[in-house]
């Protein structure tokens, strides 16, 4: 079994809601994809504990291939964990068809490309009502609920949009329609995969403001999967940084993004064009392959701190000892021998 590691840093976050049980959580979650033709399987998610509390926006950040989308899919019940579990309101997620169906109306997905997510031949009304029809058949108050979801998403007055087709809308409006489709079932959790990556910059702010406003709605939480640290800074309460299937640093946005502890988080922040860092740390090479997770700390081969010799005292552990899986909870934690050995 892996050891629990992680250092809890000072103050508790001011923004975190005072609810103890997370609405959605993963416990030691692993998702492994079998290799073909005798090749090694890919450890896409390799042990993750992540809690999402009511009224909280958590940003899951990382490079492509780090497993963040697989983790999101597992949270939605779209991937079966090979070990560990997904826990919703204290109960482990069950994968029977009927149980999953009930679950999916409470945990909704918002996809990244609104143009691809909407059927070009369906009106806005049909697109938003689709989820409702799947779960409740033709509800008598369907029209009111569609209009309500549209106005919650900022498409006002909703009557103006009901009979529009996606091509008649702008990119931002389409993304709002997708979000309305997720809201119509009054979910407890929204999982948004790169909600603004395909939108123009000026629209980006609008959609982020919408997500921020929805957070004020009672009982709604969101996990936002993104590679954009600016997005996390804009809207998230907590941020989890993922590298090669593991969360390597997690904590309140103000702490993790202004005083990052993990060398990987430090590198990610230093290369932001606007960071103005005097010496950006550009890591060489591509993120390593999840079919061949390096021994020791999985980041050690690319770690700039280890390479610079600053981690001399713990270098043997970096190369030989897995820092382990971080615990859940809202405190700041980091999976790094060097950071945990004291700065």
């Amino acid at each position: 079994m892996t050891t629990h590691a992680g250092r809890s840093r000072s103050a508790t976050p001011a923004s975190a809601p005072a609810v103890d049980t997370p609405v959605l959580a993963t416990q030691e979650l692993r998702v492994t994809f079998a290799g073909r033709g005798g090749r090694a399987g890919a450890h896409a998610v390799d042990g993750v504990n992540l809690d999402l509390r009511t009224g909280e926006i958590v940003a899951l950040v990382g490079e492509s291939g780090c497993g963040k989308s697989t983790l999101a899919r597992a949270l939605l019940g779209l991937e079966r964990p090979s070990a560990g579990r997904v826990v919703f309101e204290g109960e482990p997620l069950r994968y029977a068809t009927r149980a999953l169906r009930a679950y999916r109306r409470r945990v909704q997905l918002v996809l990244q490309d609104p143009t691809g997510a909407l059927n070009p031949r369906h009106t806005v009304y049909d697109a938003v009502a689709e989820g409702l029809r799947i779960h409740e058949g033709h509800a008598r108050d369907e029209r009111e609920r569609v209009a309500g979801a549209l106005s919650r998403s900022g498409l006002r007055p909703p009557e103006r949009f009901l009979l529009s087709y996606p091509h008649e809308l702008s990119g931002g409006q389409r993304q709002r329609v997708v979000i309305a489709g997720a809201l119509i079932l009054d979910p407890e959790v929204i999982v948004a995969d790169e909600p603004v990556a395909s939108l123009d910059v000026s629209v980006r702010g609008e959609i982020l403001r919408l997500l921020l406003r929805l957070r004020a709605d009672p009982g709604l939480s969101a996990l936002v999967v993104t590679h954009d640290l600016g997005l996390a800074w804009n809207i998230a309460d907590r941020v989890a940084v993922m590298y090669l299937g593991r969360i390597v640093e997690v904590g309140p946005v103000e702490e993790v993004l202004t005083a990052p502890s993990h060398p990987y988080t430090q590198a990610l922040l230093s290369v932001l064009p606007e960071s103005g860092a005097s010496s950006p740390v550009v890591l060489a090479g591509e993120p390593p392959d999840p079919t061949r997770v390096p021994g020791g700390c999985r980041f050690h081969a690319r770690c700039q701190v280890l390479a610079s010799g600053r981690a001399q005292g713990v270098a043997d552990r970096c190369r030989g000892e897995d820092p382990g899986v971080l615990e859940g909870g809202t405190e700041a934690r980091v999976a790094c021998h060097w950071a945990n050995a004291g700065d």
Binding site: E63, D200, V201, V203, A232
Partner: protein
């Protein structure tokens, strides 16, 4: 003399509904070895400018103006000469390397193609040259035998850069070179471009929707809106102290991590870019502008030097009535010819703020 000089470039697309203007009078200059960033949202005409520079636009596009590349007008060039200028005079790194590379040809073959066509290297030395180019962009030589699908997004973009450098051009046009790449890979590619452009004394025109990417890589920035440059100046000044309300909105759309002002406060810009076929009267940005005034409906502002008294405004210009107000006529002499890259500012002798948008084309 500037290596690239664009004068009053206008491009319109012929459509069944009539002429749709995509570029409405853009001018800039680029000195050898300097880097200009062209920013704007999709549909603002920035990619049309890039394609027009090498006459890569479809037949349905009508182009007017002058594009002087090393003193020769690309628009009137004969076909054979144009072929020689493409790749060797100026080359383009396109966005979306997956779609720009041929999926069924090895990348080494694709890098070799422009070298063979231009005959700049003896035939038997082409493989060696391909190896050199791969080495320059940080890929091992054996990658020449790979197919595009065997490479990651960042590696494919490196191949595109190797192709762009193959014939030793003096100008590289990079159209969204890092869009869709992760931050770390983006940093690698930008650093690579920066190094290669510096080592070979190449001029670069980089196009992106991301002002922060451009400000880190370019000396000067030009922000486009609805087919025009609306603000131009030194990169840092345009990003931190924009004078045109659109440039300011674009700059603040990308938050600075750690800046308390943007924490839980995403900035956007309401509304959509105008339909190029149906532009509003007066200033094209008027319907979305937060500081719009009554006169903006009547005045179509031209690019005008920013008041040179205020700090940090040297060599800056913006197309906004409020800039016209603050600039006294005697301050508005021709822009300093020594600038590394300058956008052509309207001649102050011509009638300025009264032209209606309809009279522009």
């Amino acid at each position: 003399m500037n290596y690239l000089e664009v004068e009053d470039l206008r491009v319109s697309y012929h459509t069944p509904e009539g002429e749709v203007p995509a570029v409405r009078g853009v001018g800039f200059g680029l000195a050898a070895g300097s880097k200009l960033g062209l920013a704007g949202e999709s549909g603002c005409g920035k990619s049309t400018v890039a394609l027009a520079l090498l006459r890569l636009l479809p037949r349905s596009a009508g182009i007017r103006g002058r594009i002087l590349l090393d003193g020769e007008d690309v628009l009137t060039m004969r076909w054979g000469r144009l072929r020689a200028v493409r790749w060797a005079g100026a080359s383009i790194v396109f966005q979306g390397a997956m779609h720009s590379l041929n999926a069924v040809r090895r990348v080494g073959h694709q890098i070799a193609e422009p070298i063979r066509l231009h005959g700049s290297v003896p035939r038997d030395r082409v493989p060696q040259r391909v190896g050199e180019l791969l080495d320059q962009v940080g890929l091992p030589g054996w990658r020449a035998r790979s197919y595009p699908h065997e490479l990651s997004g960042g590696q494919r973009q490196r191949v595109m850069i190797a192709m762009a450098l193959a014939c030793e051009p003096r100008l590289v046009i990079a159209d969204e070179p890092t869009t869709a790449l992760d931050v770390m890979i983006q940093a690698q590619i930008l650093r690579l471009l920066d190094r290669l452009v510096g080592e070979h004394d190449i001029s670069m025109l980089m196009i992106s929707h991301d002002l922060s990417v451009l400000s880190g890589s370019c000396d000067r920035l030009a922000v486009m809106y609805a087919g025009r440059v609306v603000e131009e100046g030194p990169a840092h000044a345009v990003v931190t102290d924009a004078r045109h309300p659109y440039a300011a909105a674009l700059g603040s759309a990308f938050p600075t991590v750690g800046d308390p002002a943007s924490r839980r406060a995403p900035h956007g810009l309401p509304g959509d870019p105008p339909d190029p076929a149906d532009l509003p009267s007066g200033c094209a940005f008027r319907p979305r502008c937060a500081v719009v005034e009554d006169r903006c409906a009547a005045i179509d502002p031209v690019l005008w030097p920013v008041d040179s008294d205020s700090a940090g405004s040297a060599g800056r210009s913006a197309a906004c009535v409020r800039v016209l107000d603050s600039a006294a006529p005697e301050d508005t002499g021709a822009p300093d010819g020594a600038e590394t890259a300058t956008t052509r500012v309207a001649d102050p002798d011509t009638t300025l703020p009264t032209q209606e948008s309809g009279a522009q084309y």
